[in-house]
């Protein structure tokens, strides 16, 4: 079972957190601090797994972002590494070559996608197509509901206000 998912930038900034096991806010902060200390300092050639407090943390670096998932000791670490990659591929397909910035400004969308991929700490869907279909169904509904107001001129007006 996956206990939590963390996205941390190379500078140790948190980009996304999802907790499948109960942690208090204090514990969360501690976990993030501890893990980013361990993971960000690891060399590039070492293995993508860290044994930590009786759990295993699988991480992978994409550009300046670290995707980390914490799993049980006996879980298949390489499989989880591929789940991370699967997640990134879905993000990539959704955002159209995803970059850190997409995730910074649309973290809630990343959460929606993650919710379609993992549920209660287990992989619920391994087909990219199915995930994409569900997400776009949700989005199209959303699009229909909200008025189109994010025109460029609007933003420029805001910026120059």
């Amino acid at each position: 079972m996956i206990h939590f998912v963390l996205l941390i930038s190379r500078q140790g900034k948190v980009r996304l957190t999802k907790w499948y096991s109960p942690y208090t806010q204090k514990e969360r902060t501690k976990v993030i601090r501890e893990l980013s200390g361990v993971i960000l300092t690891r060399g590039p050639k070492l293995c993508n797994f860290v044994e930590w407090r009786g759990y295993k943390v699988v991480y992978k670096r994409y550009a300046s972002l670290y995707f980390c998932m914490c799993i049980d000791e006996e879980d298949n670490a390489l499989e989880v590494l591929e789940i991370i990659h699967h997640f990134v591929e879905i993000l990539d397909r959704y955002f159209g070559s995803v970059c850190e910035l997409d995730l910074i400004f649309n973290f809630h969308k990343a959460y929606y996608i993650l919710d379609e991929l993992l549920i209660a700490g287990e992989l619920q869907e391994s087909s990219k197509k199915t995930v994409a279909r569900l997400i776009s169904a949700q989005d199209s509904l959303v699009e229909a509901a909200k008025e189109q107001r994010s025109s460029i001129s609007n933003i420029i007006a805001q910026a120059t206000k």
């Binding site: 044994e51 300046s64 390489l78 591929e82 070559s97 809630h108 087909s127 460029i152 206000k161």
Partner: protein, 968 residues
């Protein structure tokens, strides 16, 4: 210009779907991104919290605005700050009719609330309503929330609806319903136990996603109760077969592998079902063999499936053919350059070794490489493997390695773990008492505060009882070696408390037993300890008790006792201590000293810590007194349990349980009040000591009784903890993971002289060299130390290398000769005779002298030891050639091409992006974003590109890949 830049950035964001987000929020994200320190970030977030608190409380906020506030709250919470003031608004948002808002609300509550939060109860109603919705998206959103928020108490509220959704027309809903039930199972297994048939039905769902999801709860159910699912073996095997044959839709392929995640889950389930069941296992052999053959070993996911296959093979009833394939895969993993695969290889080796212990020997050098790898993760895994393959022949090397590593790390969690492993191995396989004591000393010295107190008690018990045989000489030798080593260590500063307790106890019990040390010497040391650790009460208690024992033994032996001055002052000081325990012991000490030899001997018999002490729990000797009191009209005693009706403390051994039950909450309902029974009213409480006083016994014997019980408390305490005695007794028994045959061959090869071991080694190697790798490559990269280590760990062929170097001239010659002609057994036999007589006169060869010139000149001036070594290496190191040669020559091109196809290479090139990014990561990344076509709109991209050019940032022409995004 500045403004233009801002516009450019905004533009980039706008086109990425920063829909509806106000400038305020964008600014927040930006300023967080630009924050140089954690403190600055915290300041910004705190300011944001203030703003949000104010805004969110305003009346009549438009819903769209509210949604943004909620998202901002999520952001704040994500950064580790408390946003609990806004939780209620997120809860309210889930009530909204619009799906957009509802979804945001659900997202926020699933992120904010743990399942035990008070607000959950407010959401349950909404969830119930949404689960009934016509819109499947609403149902999905509600199910997501169910999976996160529903706790044991609220399961019944939604369970019927979730079960109903198992038959929903949309497969996405069915899947989520399954996962929700899986979650319920985790929370409270009994709540879904009646739904097992539903899971079985869903296994046959025509949507592969639903089928895949069903495997999760089934795995858990099967791991609890294997036997009631044996009938599903056939189904699982046939599903796995179909998956492996690519019968699933293309959408489930992942990197050209057919539905690998489902395959892995199925293999996990099969491993459970086939464990110890020959019949079930036999039906799996074919399909597992197929997967072994079909798996693409070049991709990560292929290797993940292969690894799962190995796990499965090592769990089910063994099949030689599958074991062979598994061993092959393991050797490929271990030879790989990738640390990930090495890690898996080591792990898999640890699993397979249980079934076929001989497989480890082939990989000895790879294992040692991993042990010395700078990567901590790999190292730890390797220690885990070593732990599994420990036997009495290699325990010393392994435990020493573990202790060295334990000393070098700071991670307390792992330190504790490795310390307990060391203790366990030492208890099981210790080759000698002396070694055992030394090892325990080291463990205690470096990790004393981390090991379980039971380990210390176990050690004391072991020293007291000996090793279980009726060999008093060996036991007393063990004790004196322990005393000796403790006297050496005791002076070291800052010893852990647990260790000091052991030291004090052993010194008190056996310090003067063998007559080597005088009582005054030992007592002096004990006083030093008590003074040096004056704020550790437990240590002082142990020290005083030890003092008392030593004096008692002295008196009993008829010697005159003169207390040292420091001792005297220590006892005086302690008799005024705040701790009553210490005080009592100090007074007892003084009382004991003033008694005569006969009395002392009966109070404190020498070496009686193992004697069973009979404790009359019923205090039957008081019966007559009680009887008399009752006749005189006293009220009968009512046990405390009946008086208070709460806790049962009749058994004083259950002290731990008592403590637990006192601290924990009571969950059962309170009993109904009992009707008052007048005769049962408790008598005025008698203090327990008051009961004792009137007993008409001579005060002398009473005192002895008391003292005896005091000492027995500590002994009884250590006795009662019921330590791993079985482990101790197993010490000389069978080694765990090696068959007796292999271990004897090891020891015999150790004892035999060079020539024969040579043959042995060569023979081994030849059998291993079945594979056709070229063994002629020079083996410079393998250091002799490594081979030595390998030999001591595995007892394998490389053992031969080290011997000749330090042996005599002739032996060296003979052995090098033997090495050159190891194929010809005759030559070996001839040299064998020479070596037999020679080595008999030689001192045991010292392996460490390898490089020292003195040895070289004195023993073999003409023979270069290194040359001999090379000669040996040529023949004996086939395994290592396989390691290095094969990877270097044959596999590397494949690997390179593999990496060219996977994002790993992109990763490394795109990593360069982040080099400038640390200055201002938002800035750079946002310009990055503008440079590349985001989304489908080429016009936007062109505009952005133009903007970027204006801003003066041009992409490097040398490396067009540089500005690729995450995936390229």
């Amino acid at each position: 210009m500045e403004q233009l830049k801002t516009i450019g950035r905004e533009l980039a964001m706008g086109s990425q779907g920063g829909f509806g987000q106000s400038k305020e929020f964008l600014d927040l994200v930006k300023s967080i991104g630009e924050a140089r320190s954690k403190a600055e970030e915290d300041r910004i977030v705190l300011h944001e919290i203030e703003t949000l608190k104010r805004r969110i409380a305003e009346p009549d906020i438009p819903k769209r605005k509210m949604k943004e506030y909620i998202i901002r709250l999520v952001y704040v919470e994500m950064l580790g700050h408390d946003a609990s003031f806004g939780y209620i608004h997120a809860v309210k948002m889930t009530h909204d009719d619009s799906l957009l808002l509802k979804r945001t609300g659900y997202l926020a509550v699933t992120l904010f609330l743990n399942e035990d939060h008070d607000l959950i109860i407010l959401i349950v109603n909404t969830i119930q309503k949404d689960l009934r919705s016509d819109n499947y998206l609403v149902v999905c959103a509600a199910l997501n929330a169910v999976c996160r928020l529903i706790n044991e108490e609220t399961i019944p509220a939604v369970l019927p609806q979730v079960v109903e959704l198992l038959g929903h027309t949309k497969e996405g809903v069915r899947k989520k319903a399954i996962m929700a039930l899986h979650r319920f199972y985790h929370k409270s297994p009994s709540s879904v136990s009646h739904l097992v048939s539903n899971f079985r039905k869903r296994l046959c769902d025509n949507d592969p996603g639903v089928m895949g999801a069903t495997l999760c709860p089934l795995f858990d159910l099967i791991s609890v109760d294997v036997n009631s699912y044996k009938d599903l073996v056939v189904s699982f095997v046939s599903i796995l077969k179909q998956v492996a044959e690519r019968r699933l839709p293309k959408g489930y392929d992942y990197h050209q592998m057919p539905a690998p995640f489902i395959q892995i889950r199925l293999l996990k389930i099969l491993a459970l079902l086939g464990s110890g069941d020959k019949l079930a296992s036999e039906s799996m052999y074919t399909v597992i063999g197929d997967i072994f053959r079909k798996c693409d070993s070049l991709s990560n996911i292929g290797n993940a499936v292969l690894y799962e296959c190995i796990c499965c093979v090592s769990s089910i009833y063994p099949n030689p053919k599958l074991l062979e394939s598994a061993a092959e895969v393991i050797s490929r993993f271990l030879k790989s350059d990738s640390h990930n695969l090495k890690y898996l290889g080591i792990d898999a080796l640890g699993r397979l070794i249980k079934i076929s212990p001989e497989i480890a020997e082939q990989h000895q050098l790879a294992v040692i490489d991993c042990l010395e790898d700078p990567d901590d993760t790999l190292k730890r895994k390797t220690f885990e493997l070593l732990y599994k393959m420990t036997k009495s022949s290699n325990v010393e090397v392994i435990v020493n390695r573990m202790i060295d590593y334990m000393i070098s790390i700071n991670d307390n969690h792992f330190k504790t773990y490795i310390a307990s492993r060391c203790v366990e191995l030492a208890e099981q396989f210790a080759p000698s008492n002396h070694w055992f004591i030394q090892t325990m000393n080291k463990v205690f010295e470096h990790a004393g505060d981390l090991v379980n107190i039971k380990v210390a008690h176990n050690l004391m018990r072991l020293i007291a009882e000996g090793f279980g045989e009726d060999d008093d000489a060996a036991d007393s030798q063990l004790r004196s070696s322990a005393v000796e080593s403790y006297l050496l260590i005791i002076g070291e500063p800052k010893l852990p408390s647990v260790f000091l307790q052991v030291i004090c106890w052993v010194l008190g019990e056996y310090g003067t037993a063998d007559g080597k040390y005088s009582a005054s010497y030992i007592t002096g040391k004990l006083c030093d300890v008590a003074e040096a650790y004056s704020n550790d009460e437990t240590v002082k208690v142990y020290a005083v008790t030890a003092l008392m024992k030593i004096y008692a033994f002295e008196i009993a032996a008829g010697r005159k006792v003169d207390m040292l001055d420091e001792c005297q002052s220590l006892v005086e000081e302690l008799s005024a201590s705040h701790s009553t325990d210490l005080q009592q012991r100090a007074y007892e000490l003084q009382a004991v000293i003033s008694l005569d030899a006969r009395a002392v001997e009966s109070i404190m018999p020498s070496d009686a810590s193992c004697e069973d002490i009979e404790i009359d729990e019923n205090l039957s000797f008081l019966n007559s007194y009680v009887q008399q009191a009752l006749e005189n009209g006293a009220q009968p005693y009512i046990p405390e349990s009946e008086r208070s009706g709460m806790l049962n403390i009749s058994n004083f051994r259950s002290q731990d349980q008592l403590e637990v039950s006192m601290h924990g909450l009571r969950f059962e309902a309170y009993e109904l009040p009992k009707p008052p029974v007048p005769s049962r009213i408790p008598p005025p409480l008698l203090a327990p000591s008051a009961e004792l006083v009137p007993v008409s016994e001579p005060s002398y014997s009473r005192e002895t009784h008391q003292v005896a019980t005091v000492t027995s408390v500590s002994d009884a305490g250590s006795l009662e903890l019921k330590l791993r005695l079985d482990g101790v007794q197993r010490k000389w028994g069978k080694p765990t993971y090696s068959s007796p045959a292999s271990s004897t061959s090891n020891s015999s090869s150790q004892n035999t002289v060079n020539g024969t071991t040579q043959v042995d080694g060569a023979g081994n190697v030849n059998s291993k060299a079945r594979t056709t790798y070229d063994s002629r490559r020079p083996q410079v990269e393998i250091s002799p130390e490594k081979q030595k280590l390998a030999a001591s760990l595995f007892g394998g062929p490389s053992q031969t290398e080290k011997r000749p170097t330090s042996a005599s001239h002739k032996v060296a010659k003979a052995s090098s000769h033997a090495a050159e002609k190891s194929q010809a057994p005759k030559a070996v036999v001839v040299s064998n005779e020479v070596t037999v007589e020679k080595t008999n006169h030689q001192p045991p060869p010292d392996l460490l002298d390898l490089g020292e010139p003195t040895v070289a000149t004195s023993s073999a001036p003409l023979v270069d030891p290194f040359k001999q070594l090379e000669g040996l290496l040529d023949t004996t190191q086939v395994t290592s050639t396989v390691n290095h040669g094969a990877v270097g020559a044959t596999e590397s091109p494949d690997i390179i091409s593999l990496y060219a196809n996977t994002p790993a290479s992109v990763q490394s090139s795109s990593a360069e992006i982040s080099v400038p990014a640390n200055k201002d990561d938002i800035n750079v990344t946002s310009t990055l974003a503008t440079q590349f076509t985001k989304g489908p709109n080429p016009k936007d991209a062109l505009e952005k590109d133009a903007l970027v050019r204006q801003l003066g940032v041009t992409p490097s022409s040398q490396n067009p890949n540089l500005f690729r995004d995450l995936l390229g």
